[in-house]
């Protein structure tokens, strides 16, 4: 299991495009990882048979720890029994979630002073 850490990049889980979790193997399921970041996901059986935590996947792949019994469309996953295989973008709200602020590059201090034409350009 440990070798994976060297060769596989830890998947980034985003909610509607906002990166929220680096899935580095500290959590046994996607649901646990989401809950650790206080993402609001409804869950009941947490074993893949009630389907309460069904979530829409915008992009990315998951792999299942146990085969889910609940009915899933091609773009849905059950976070309680899966882990991300690649970077994942889920259709979940970031409301109340501690998010990693993306570094903002402002152009405030990099304004270009007035252009003056050089002699050879004219």
């Amino acid at each position: 299991m440990t070798y994976k850490k060297f060769f596989k990049k830890a998947p980034i889980v985003s909610l509607k495009g906002q990166p929220v979790i680096l899935f580095d193997g500290k959590h046994s399921s996607l649901l646990e990882a989401l809950e650790s970041k206080k993402v609001k996901v409804f869950s009941e059986c947490r074993n893949g048979f009630c389907g309460a935590c069904k979530t829409t996947v915008i992009s990315g792949e998951v792999s299942y720890l146990t085969t889910p019994l609940a009915e899933l469309k091609a773009n849905e996953c059950l976070p309680c029994c899966c882990v991300p295989e690649s970077d994942l973008n889920l259709k979940l709200s970031t409301k109340g979630v501690e998010v990693v602020a993306k570094r903002q590059y402002t152009e405030a201090n990099t304004s270009v002073p007035a252009m003056t034409k050089l002699a050879h350009e004219s």
């Binding site: 009941e44 947490r46 048979f49 009630c50 609940a70 009915e71």
Partner: protein, 376 residues
């Protein structure tokens, strides 16, 4: 097609629809149209438990110490659950088995219904333990107007389907006068009745049960009636599976691949299905009012329980592709998750130490204080 317990026409059951095809003849599972039902059966069988495995003797002491309004909450919920499982223990068999045409689905329905009979037996186990005369509880179920009001709505869809099936079996399609009552029946009417019945069962397993679950777990959060909570937890685990199965059946019906006419009916019945769910939710909210009429309990009151009903109604309706009637909110009872998590269910008594499991029903823990008056 009239029902036969063993139809002698050879057929390939994988080419039949779920319902209203040729009745199942050979119970074979080597070829399956929908494998999910086989998986559900396996899961349900792996969940097998017996009420006697759970010791509820501590609950008698807890129950005696509860204030009267909390006893009312506890007993009323047990009565209601007894009613629900009385219906579920037989109705899927009586109503669905004559219509089903896939062996795996037929067996699933039987397995499902059987597990509900275990639930019924467990209520007797609990009630027998906490009251001296269980009849006081059981007899009231068919007299209590708050319970009967909902019983009517639950049984109606089953009764409707059963009656139409019988008429269709005996007299075929057409309008018939039976005991002075004019009944029109054809395959489409039957399919519509089945679709609505399945929706009603889904609402029952999805919403109605959860009000009682919430109360039982609220007691257990206070370390009261823990034996009962342990049983309810096993019941909740089964119900989640049943709920999943009716969601599967409804999705297959709505998808139309199984039976194109069913998909048309699903669209036609959308409003009726929506109303049925809302009515169930509103009835449960009224029930919450009745439960807390003499006072709330710590950790749960009418308002929170009603919010919970609205919250799960939205969730469940989303699962069967219906619009959501209530405003979106966050889960008002987040701790329910700890009780509904199936991994936390104690599988075998010897595996995990749970506070209410006592070997030989004798508590062997001795407090140091008990030796204080000893003189040597």
């Amino acid at each position: 097609m009239a029902y036969s317990t063993f139809c002698q026409t050879p057929n390939d059951s994988t080419k039949e629809p779920m319902f209203f095809g040729q009745s199942v003849n050979v119970a074979r599972y080597d070829q399956q149209k929908y494998e999910v039902f086989e998986k559900l059966i396996e899961k349900q069988l792996s969940f097998f438990w017996r009420p006697e495995e759970v010791d509820v003797s501590r609950d008698k002491i807890d129950f005696g110490a509860l204030p009267e309004h909390e006893q009312h909450i506890f007993i009323s919920n047990l009565k209601y659950q007894t009613l629900l499982d009385s219906i579920q223990g037989r109705s899927p068999n009586v109503a669905f088995l004559p219509l089903v045409s896939l062996p795996e689905l037929e067996t699933w329905i039987e397995t499902w219904s059987f597990s509900e009979t275990i639930h019924s037996r467990s209520y007797t186990h609990i009630i027998r333990n906490i009251v001296n005369n269980p009849s006081v509880v059981f007899d009231d179920i068919v007299e209590n107007e708050h319970i009967l009001k909902r019983a009517g709505d639950i049984a109606r869809y089953y009764d409707d389907l059963i009656k139409l099936t019988q008429v269709h079996n005996l007299h075929g399609s057409g309008t018939h006068v039976i005991n002075g009552e004019k009944i029109t029946v054809n395959l489409r009417i039957l399919k519509k009745s089945l679709y609505l019945c399945m929706m009603s069962v889904n609402a029952l397993e999805a919403i109605r049960f959860y009000v009682s679950f919430a109360c039982s777990f609220a007691f257990a959060e206070r370390r009261l009636m823990e034996g009962n909570a342990k049983i309810i937890r096993l019941i909740a685990r089964d119900e989640a599976l049943h709920l999943n199965s009716t969601q599967h059946i409804l999705s297959l019906m709505q998808g139309g691949k199984d039976d194109p006419e069913m998909a048309e009916i699903a669209i036609e019945c959308q409003q009726e299905a929506y109303d049925l769910f809302v009515k169930a939710a509103e009835q449960e909210k009224e029930w919450a009012k009745y439960l807390f009429k003499d006072g709330s309990m710590i950790g749960l009151n009418e308002q929170i329980l009603c919010q919970y009903v609205e919250y799960i109604t939205n969730q469940r309706m989303k699962s069967v592709h219906l619009p959501q009637p209530y405003e979106e909110s966050s889960n008002p009872l987040p701790w329910m998750k700890n009780w509904l998590e199936s991994d936390a269910v104690q599988v075998a008594p010897q595996e995990v130490e749970v506070s209410s499991y006592l070997v030989g029903q004798i508590d062997s823990s001795v407090d140091g204080d008990e030796f204080l008056d000893f003189d040597l």
